[in-house]
Amino acid sequence: MTEAIATLRGRFDPSRHGALLALVVIVLFNLAVTPNFFQAQTLFVNISQVATIAIVAMGMTLVIATGGIDLSVGAIMALSGALAPLIFLSDFATANPGLGLAAAIVVPILVALCCGVFNGVLVSVLGVQPIVATLIFFISGRGLAQVLTNGNLQTFTHPSFSYLGTGKVLGLPFQGWLVLLIAVVLFWVVTRSVFGRQLLAVGGNERAARLSGIPVHRVKIGAYVICGGLSGLAGLIVVAINSASDAARIGNLMELDAIAAAVVGGTLLQGGRAPIFGAVLGAVIIQLVKYTLLANGIADEVALIAKAGIIIAAVYLQQARKE
């Protein structure tokens, strides 16, 4: 018996499977305590809420894997989220609905990608500390979004655009499928592509990577660009869910959720590892904790403290692995 436990202990590495265990514990807890937890409706709500965190967290994971960090994700969400309604509510879009819708999706994401280029160039070519470089958009991006909308709340009725946030495919929310698709693509990029290998090498030992001829600057810019683009997409989804765009609130504090999800998912802050599905799992845990507290009538403020607890636990497990 004790032998069996010992083998189990040997197999079970808390730092590797801790997040999975946490997920199981939260689900079991909810099944026992939270009323109406085992309902399709609950599943839908959680999937549609977790999608944005998961999408941004995957981008963040790539950036952290290079040894960097991106604080501007929330602000980029606000920027793209503010742009989209401006475009599809414009006269041009009302005249050409199809083109207008396409532009309302493509243009904000292009702008988000450009933000990523800016961050990446600052960090790699100019050698600015990532935390400082991305602080620039963290501060100015949301300001820009509010200037564009005059600080007004934009509400709209636009069924085709809202599909991004409220549509269903095979009975499940559209953005859930989107997360799955992005995760599969990024997983392929990280584990199979040359870019992914170079990304992990840059994060693992930048000097050695440079000496081995890896285009360090290009790889880093690539990571920030992907992260920016995904943030832009997440911004669109938030707006689509709400059928309203409030530049002051879209993606507020998203950078912290995304970093937390990445860390809980097993990303090392010093770089060199990019567990994509880990980031999704981390996002799910964070969302479920929020939901659990909310559904049981505990204030949002307390949820913040709970999140901090999760991060501490995740970092503690990472530290333990280093030894």
Binding site: W188, V194, R197, Q198, L200, A201, N205, R207, A209
Partner: protein
């Protein structure tokens, strides 16, 4: 006369590895004393024991006859031992005055800092060294030399009896070195002793009175500088017999090279901010060119410049294709590889597997539709694991779990997998056990027979002498002579290094 510092029988080991064994050092009051020795000879360990950074395991330290007890650098400073490190330990963003009086600020009666007195004192101290600067300006706005002088001024203001200068001239230009030397002479005149650590033997003859030579954690000898020759010092540093070196002479070097291939790369009069002052050499197919010289002679810097890592301020690297070499990526694309000296900092990606580490430089060639061609990758990796006999539990094992020798083989495989034309090897067998060392050397030999050109840097003279077809001798960033095998002996190489020092001193 009682010695100012008397260290005897000093022993120190780190985690069971002996760093110092029965080392000794004596410094007289008011003398300029040099310590020389190769890397790892124990110079810095001995000094760190003196300054309270390390605690000795055995031995006795006395200052003017009484036992000296220091357990922290601060206590050493209070005892009158001041250290000026290579990396200045000053605060560049604060004023000159603040840097000089830091921790010992004059106070007013209210307990506040008396800035008027502080500035005046700083000005007075600096004036003694002939330095006239605005003491209220930020220290960082002045040159390295001035900063170094400020560090010395700080030491003197603390009533130092001994100033330790660790590689003080390494970042100074000739003019600044002159200023520094005059300050050292000034210190000596006012009765302060100076302990001087430098890799440049010429400096010794300019300002030092006595010299202590260390080797393998022991003190070999202490001489009056006036009674030594550079040949003698070099031979004591390296542990070779001076007469043997002399007997071998330079003239015995004759005989050509058996099979000189065409010239692949030509480095002409390389100059750089990293310390190259006119280095030239050529690399031909099917030969090993060695770079010889003491530490700090510019060997690694020359290799880095050739590989496109450091910018040249003058001179040119000419590749036989006529292509330019500005980045490592370009060099690799032209068929060059660089096995670096510092395996940990510049070589391995610790998290990654043996497989991923081997194919790191090869990725562009393994690319198929954006993805890594995994099948080819595995084939290549298992070929090299077998060919180089890398001991690993499998290609997926993280490289950090391998022994030093096997890590080195993985890195060698990284470059060999490129099927390079030119391979730069910087200390290829350092920190590698004897067995792996032999294997690595024979792998290199075999590759050269098949046409590879190698630029070899090694601090082990046997490796250079036996391995290289030609040895280019560097000194202070300048290539000074070239030895041709067969016919090179260790003595001849040491002689070439030492003799040139003689000549440049004359």
């Amino acid at each position: 006369m009682t010695d100012l510092i008397e260290m005897t029988g000093i022993g120190k080991s780190f985690a069971g590895i002996i760093a110092l064994q029965d080392a000794s050092l004596s410094i007289r009051p008011g003398e300029v004393h040099a310590i020389i020795g190769q890397n790892g000879a124990g110079k810095s360990t001995l000094i760190k024991i003196l300054t309270g950074v390390y605690r000795r395991d055995a031995g006795d330290v006395r200052m003017t006859g009484t036992p000296l007890v220091v357990t922290t650098p601060r206590e050493a400073q209070d005892a009158g031992i001041a250290t000026i490190y290579q990396e200045l330990s000053l605060v560049p963003l604060r004023s000159v005055t603040e840097n000089v009086v830091m921790g010992y600020e004059p106070r007013t009666r209210l307990g506040l800092i008396d800035w008027k007195a502080a500035h005046a004192r700083t000005r007075e101290i600096l004036a003694r060294f002939g330095v006239d600067v605005d003491v209220t300006r930020q220290l960082g706005s002045y040159s390295t030399a001035i900063q170094q002088l400020v560090a010395i001024a700080r030491a003197v203001s603390l009533d130092a009896k001994l100033v330790i200068m660790d590689e003080a001239t390494s970042s100074l230009d000739d003019q600044e070195i002159e200023t520094l030397f005059s300050v050292v002479k000034g210190l000596k005149a006012s009765g302060v002793a100076v302990l001087y650590i430098s890799h440049f033997l010429n400096e010794l003859y300019q300002i030092c009175d006595r010299v202590t030579i260390m080797r393998d954690g022991q003190t070999v000898a202490t001489h009056d500088v006036a009674e030594t020759t550079k040949l003698g010092l070099v031979s004591e540093m390296l542990g070779r017999d001076a007469s043997e070196i002399q007997a071998a002479g330079l003239t015995a070097l004759s005989g050509g090279h058996g099979d000189p291939g065409e010239v692949l790369l030509e480095a002409e009069d390389l100059r750089s901010k990293t310390g190259l002052r006119g280095t030239s050499f050529t690399i031909r197919k099917r030969e090993i060119v060695g770079l010889g010289g003491l530490l700090g002679s510019g060997r690694t810097e020359a290799a880095r410049a050739v590989f496109g890592l450091d910018a040249l301020s003058a001179g040119a690297v000419r590749h036989h294709t006529g292509a330019t070499l500005d980045t490592p990526a370009q060099a690799i694309a032209l068929g060059m590889g660089f096995l670096t000296e510092d395996r940990k900092a510049d070589g391995i990606i610790p998290h990654m597997s043996v497989r991923e580490n081997i194919t790191l430089a090869l990725l562009p060639k393994l690319k198929r539709m954006g993805a890594v061609d995994r099948e080819r990758e595995r084939r290549l990796v298992s070929h090299y694991i077998e060919a180089l006999q890398i001991k690993t539990s499998g290609m997926e094992q993280p490289i950090r779990e391998l022994s030093g020798g096997n890590q080195q083989k993985v890195l060698l495989a990284r470059w060999l997998a490129l099927e390079p034309e030119i391979l730069i090897l910087d200390e290829p067998t350092r920190g590698v056990d004897v067995g792996a060392k032999f294997e690595i050397q024979s792998i290199i030999r075999k590759q050269v027979a098949e046409g590879l050109a190698v630029l070899l840097i090694s601090s082990e003279f046997e490796e250079l002498v036996e391995g290289a077809d030609r040895i280019v001798v560097l000194q202070d960033g300048t290539s000074v002579s070239e030895l041709q095998n067969p016919g090179v002996t260790e003595g001849a190489l040491i002689n070439a290094i030492a003799h040139h020092h003689e000549r440049s001193a004359a």
